[in-house]
Amino acid sequence: MEKYAVYVPRLIKKRENFAPGHRACIGCGEALAVRLAFKALDNNVIVANATGCIEIIASQLPFTTWHLPWIHTLFENPAAVASGIEAGYKAMKRKGMAVPENTKVVAIGGDGATSDIGLQAISGALERGHDFTYICFDNEAYMNTGIQRSSATPFGAATTTSPAGKQSFGQFTWKKNMPEIAAAHNIPYVATATHGYPFDLMAKVRKAVDTPGPAYVHILSVCPTGWRSATDTVNRQSRLAVQTGVFPLYEVENGVYKMSIDLPRLRPVKDYLKIQGRFRHLSDDLIQQIQDRVELEYQKILEKANNVTKRAKVKGKTGAAKASAR
């Protein structure tokens, strides 16, 4: 992918669908991811937004950051709102009413809106087969309300409602696997992405939106405020999440798994954990537990993927610094 890095930006539109001038924290990985996701799309898109960081930073009466038709109603319902928009357009078009051709519907929400409170509405919309894309911008906690744990918060992370203390090492549950839950609905397209791999992210969002029927994209979005990490390392953290196997990049197209990056070996998870304050309390034992779990989960995805050659064996504990982290 690196060899295209100089050329590819020239193919990208200058137009911003998510404009500058919003009120995100400095170094916000989610705002970056949203900008990239919608830069990948044309202006024939209607956005249904869940309550959360992106909704709050990008809207305040009478202003908006969006150059697209945009609707926010509640926290847990953007998938259902998107269902209604899609159905409305379908019916109006069929009945000969004047609506723009080829209008796409994209629902977006954070990890809380997606894997906790809005899970039922997402499942319903995916199951009903609406032609829409759901994008989860996952920053691994309820950041908008002040860094409370969600079911997407990783094991061992300290948040304000899963604090580390004498009796606790922080979050004691493993991150809910939303992409796999989405894939279990047998929808035509599921993908994971992160802003540290921008062209991959844009290509996947584009593909998701162009796919007829429901599509789901899960985008890891680094939150330096909530992760207690340096604001100038968000893309580095994003890439480390991939290179350590913590957040594998893959696609599931019509049930066929495909890894997006061929990693000869994984870097140790410690490289990813050590630059984030939310993990600073973790003992070596706990880090090893995370290492083991990451390898196990990564192996599962690898086994499902049909394009990974046998030489790409997962080895977490060695060959650390060799994988590229630009």
């Binding site: 024939n44 009466l61 908006t64 609707i71 926010h72 379908k90 019916a91 009413m97």
Partner: protein
């Protein structure tokens, strides 16, 4: 020419919705609303209604899908009851300030616990402050007429508000009545094609549902309140036009022998017809009684109510819901507020009855009027009476 047929009221409502030609129906089944949405699904399945039917996974998503479809500019209908209305409550609040004219039939049913599938008005009272226009029907014909009117009211450019049409669960939803249906061509003339002024449209992007900081929140709420207050005029105007087109007139407060009557009984919903029989009997007996029925719950018809009972000495209000720990029945409470600062006001007596499907018979209504008159004369130890309760 209009045709008159014997038909179950739920089926009739679905047929009335079909006459309004909605683009989207999103609904989740709940007793006693089911026959309405089943028949709509059937109409769509048979190609008799050209609409998208979204079989959502909950009422919360039903109303959310309605928000999306109405915001896209599609004519939108849903129906629910009781727990369903409670589950969608959060979403119900959003529709009015966003000016989305969704039309919803509510088959009034008691709220749990204990579970009851039968009628009272606790669900209707729970959405009193959501900013929706709330119309109450008493019989099947009124349901059909008011469903058609609701679309015209809600979609009027001066209104652009969601409208609920309330009908009592089972007492109306599951009974067969003779109902007159207007012709499609007549409804098309009465109800112009829907054109939402600022839909979600890539050709003209709008942002809907921004958050409001304290500096502007009050103004948005003021605008919403002005809007629903002003809608009252349009509601009456649409009813007048409906009368011109179809020959049936509706009023925010319906009167029955109430002009000049000393004792007036006030009801909402299907029990009104039973009460009318009792009132007729009592008038025939030479008693000075009358009845008013509230047709419009929100916006509340203050002036019409005051005018309707201007000669009354006693106003007995029957609520089919309890405001737990409150001063009296929820409707009675508002009626008292409506008269508090009036120079001449009737003595207002609050009864609660008909909870969870308990019938009030003709004899029961005669008894309520008798007891109410006595309470007005002598006073009562209670702020309100629960009629027929076994203490």
């Amino acid at each position: 020419m209009a045709t008159r047929v014997g038909i179950e009221v739920s089926i009739a409502i679905a047929d009335a919705v079909k006459l309004a030609n909605p683009d989207v129906v999103a609904a989740y089944p709940i007793t006693p609303q089911t026959h309405i949405v089943e028949h709509l699904a059937e109409l769509v399945a048979n190609g008799e209604l050209d609409a998208e039917y979204i079989p959502v996974e909950s009422e919360h998503s039903a109303m959310s899908a309605c928000l999306g479809s109405a915001a896209a500019g599609a004519r939108t209908f849903t129906a629910t009851a009781s727990q369903g209305l409670a589950l969608m409550n959060e979403v119900v609040y959003v529709a009015a300030p966003m000016r989305l004219p969704i039309i919803m039939a509510v088959a009034n049913r008691a709220l749990s616990a204990p579970l009851s599938i039968w009628c009272d008005h606790s669900d209707m009272m729970s959405v009193r402050d959501t900013g929706w226009i709330q119309i109450i029907a008493e019989n099947g014909q009124q349901c059909v007429d008011n469903i058609i009117c609701a679309f015209r009211i809600g979609e009027d450019k001066r209104v652009l508000l969601p409208v609920m049409v309330h009908l009592d669960g089972f007492n109306l939803t599951h009974v067969i009545e003779p109902i007159e249906f207007p012709e499609q061509s007549e409804v098309d003339k009465f109800l112009p094609p829907y054109k939402f002024p600022l839909p979600l449209n890539p050709d003209n992007p709008v942002a809907m549902g921004d958050f409001a900081p304290p500096v502007i929140f009050t103004e948005t709420k003021w605008a919403q309140e002005k809007n629903i207050q002003a809608s009252k005029k349009v509601v009456s105007e649409v009813w007048d036009k409906y009368n011109k087109a179809f020959g049936r007139q509706y009023y925010p407060v319906e009167k029955h022998h109430s002009d000049g009557a000393k004792v007036v009984l006030m009801t909402m919903g299907a029990v009104g017809e039973t009460a009318s029989v009792a009132i007729d009997e009592m008038v025939a007996d030479g008693q000075d009684v009358g009845q008013i029925r509230l047709r419009l719950w929100r916006p509340f018809p203050l002036e019409e109510l005051r005018e309707a009972v201007k000669d009354a000495e006693v106003l007995i209000v029957l609520d089919r819901a309890i405001s737990y720990g409150g001063p009296c029945g929820p409707v009675a409470s508002e009626v008292k507020a409506a008269f508090y600062d009036q120079p001449k006001r009737p003595k207002i007596v609050s009864f609660v009855g008909g909870l969870g499907g308990r019938d009030i018979t003709v004899a029961g209504f005669r008894d309520i009027v008798k007891q109410g008159t006595e309470i007005a004369r002598t006073g009562s130890k209670n702020e309100y009476e629960i009629y027929g309760v076994r203490e």
